[in-house]
Symmetry: C2
Subunit: 205 residues, 2 copies
């Protein structure tokens, strides 16, 4: 029905469970293509090139930046992370939907280039839950926890830039809601209308 | 999650199968409330007051019009048809979603009052299919068929006023897509955001 695939951007604060929900969604929607990120960080045990990440040298990554081959990128603790543009654009042009699972900063960069993307913000069931997840990560001093919580609240405020917000109460329920969002977006009138206009043309002539 | 229920308006050209799809949708979504129309036409065999229609005298109906108790109404072949407003508004205020299954003219009247409603246009799988359904209704002269087809094309053009368009290829598939639309609309950021703003307030104070 749609010639062009949709760009789905799944994002949300750190610790909310974006990766797990994204995997559950891909399990439900075999037609959905997952955009694999590029990084300069070394592979961890079990990680595969082209599946978990495209592993790049710093030189390779910096030349991708220079040639505008990344939809978004950032540097964290000395490593680059980014979204290769070519795969996303070619997959969409081929009529398949693509999902990016990225942090809030990356999502905002993507939105500047693709305002027509479907931006989904994943929410924790409660602020208490997010607090527990942040605390639960280790036995860091209260100061570090406090600063992470402030960062999480700052990320939560970015919800204003999104089209949808899905609560990650249970992984499968959250994935099912995102699946519904993708289905609904394919039914948006603007996306279906060209077909109807062709009928009307056909009928008139 | 949402204090106020959503208003879902299912409409489309005559003969497209609105009623059948609406029944299938109600079967899938037991929480969805069906708005029963009022009419002055006499009940047919098996039709029940309050289930299929609220059967009214002309005087009763005209007093409903005068008291602005109808969300939309029209007169066809000497009978009034309309949507009682009270049920719709009370059900939504109680947090339940309501579905109206009405024709294109009625939907446009409702949209004037409820621009925030979710307007879903049901489409035939093809113009050919709609032609066959219109022809298939009887052995009318070509002139009558022609004028009905023109009316159907005029109704198709009203698609521009809708939020979504769903193709009625198979009843259950069409109902499933409308179910996805309702789920997605509940996840729209504007509807979820107030909760997040409360969290942020809570965290700041």
């Amino acid at each position: 029905m749609n010639k062009q695939g949709l760009l789905i951007v799944l994002s949300g604060p750190s610790g909310v469970g974006k990766g797990t929900v994204c995997q559950a969604l891909l399990g439900r929607m075999p037609g959905l293509a997952y955009s694999v990120s590029a990084t300069t960080r070394p592979p961890r045990a079990g990680e595969r090139h082209g599946v978990n990440y495209f592993f790049k040298t710093r030189e390779e990554f910096e030349s991708m930046i220079a040639r505008d081959e990344l939809l978004e990128w950032a540097e964290y603790v000395g490593n680059y992370y980014g979204t290769p543009r070519k795969f996303v654009e070619e997959t969409m042009a081929g009529g398949r939907d693509v999902i990016l699972e990225i942090d809030v900063q990356g999502a905002l960069q993507v939105k500047r280039r693709y305002p027509d993307g479907i931006f989904v913000f994943l929410l924790p069931p409660s602020l208490e839950e997010l607090r527990n997840r942040i605390r639960g990560r280790g036995t860091e001093p209260e100061e570090v926890i406090r600063s992470r919580l402030e960062a999480a609240v700052a990320e939560l405020k970015q919800i204003v830039h999104y089209d949808y917000a899905v609560v990650n109460d249970r992984i499968e329920d959250a994935a099912s809601r995102i699946e519904a969002i993708v289905t609904a977006e394919h039914c948006r009138r603007e996306r279906v209308m060209s077909r109807v206009l062709e009928w009307i043309e056909e009928e008139v002539h």
